[in-house]
């Protein structure tokens, strides 16, 4: 097999992995939408799909993290959401992903801190969008949203850490 063939095969493999991860995200997101934490404050979720973004960021595949996350947000808005929910999801998704990518470059933070920070920024961004759509009164929920963001983000981070460890040991075996 020539080097070029190997290269394009690798590209196809990556594309398949991204598609697979996007599908996994959508399924996780859908299952999560069945469990409603809305009685605490509007829009509270665990955000388990974000573990996929964590895995990609910590595997140093920033491009993949961006691609999968944006595809996930657009597709889930098309499948289950509305234009309004798309604006909410995009604002939260992009800001939290950007923050996570930047923070992951610092050595002081593990995947847990990165994910927790992403969760907080996700909720804060949604709070700002909410204020634009329905009024500043929504900032009343900010403390609750911040704490739920940090807790759910940390939980997702712990999960991602477990998966990352598993991935590392698998790679060593090969």
């Amino acid at each position: 097999m020539s080097a070029e063939q190997g290269n394009s095969r690798n590209k196809i493999k990556r594309l398949c992995i991204y598609a697979l991860l996007t599908a996994v995200c959508l399924i996780i997101g859908y299952i999560e939408s069945l469990v409603n934490f809305g009685f605490i404050a509007p829009g509270i979720k665990i955000g388990l799909a974000n573990s996929v973004a964590c895995l990609l960021i910590f595997s140093r595949d920033i491009k993949g993290a961006l691609l999968v996350n944006i595809a996930r947000i657009l597709l889930s808005a098309l499948l289950f959401g509305s234009p309004l929910s798309l604006v909410f999801a995009l604002s939260g998704g992009i800001i939290s992903l950007a923050a996570m990518i930047i923070l992951s470059k610092c050595r002081q933070f593990s995947v847990i801190g990165v994910s927790a920070f992403g969760g907080v920024l996700h909720n804060m961004a949604q709070c700002v969008v909410g204020a634009c759509v329905i009024g500043v009164g929504i900032f009343y929920y900010l403390p609750v949203l911040m704490i739920s963001g940090v807790l759910s983000g940390a939980l997702v981070g712990v999960l991602s850490g477990l998966i990352l460890n598993r991935m590392k040991s698998e790679n060593n075996v090969q």
Binding site: N36, G38, F39, P42, C106, Q108, F109, S110, I112, G113, A116, F117, V120, G130, V133, I134, G135, G137, I138, Y140, L142, P143, V144, M146, I147, G149, V150, A154, G157
Partner: protein, 104 residues
């Protein structure tokens, strides 16, 4: 788990706690209820008169100076589960119907 992770969590908790305390204690009891739809005030009621307010998709109640959402036709029912509000600046939001009850 690294030191940085703990710092992030601690800082967020501290900021959230301070915000919550400020929000809760800085607010005096309100005097009027603003009913907003699409971010525009459509009704204004004094809180000292008990009444029921029927909107297109929601029913709100003023009772003993507090306001709560009695019923709504929205799917998530978050507004109904939000409970009572009475302090200035507090609000109940019905995102699906774009209705907001705000105390002034």
């Amino acid at each position: 788990m690294k030191k940085g992770d703990i710092i992030i969590c601690a800082v967020v908790f501290a900021v959230a706690l301070i915000l919550a305390v400020v929000f809760f204690f800085a607010k005096p009891e309100g005097k009027t209820l603003l009913v907003k739809a699409d971010n525009k005030v459509i009704y204004e009621y004094p809180l000292d008169v008990d009444r029921e307010i029927t909107l297109e998709h929601n029913t709100a109640v003023i009772k003993d100076g507090s306001v709560f959402m009695l019923s709504a036709d929205c799917k998530n029912q978050i507004c109904v589960k939000s409970g009572e509000i009475s302090k200035r600046g507090e609000c109940i939001v019905c995102l699906p119907n774009r209705v907001i009850l705000e105390i002034r």
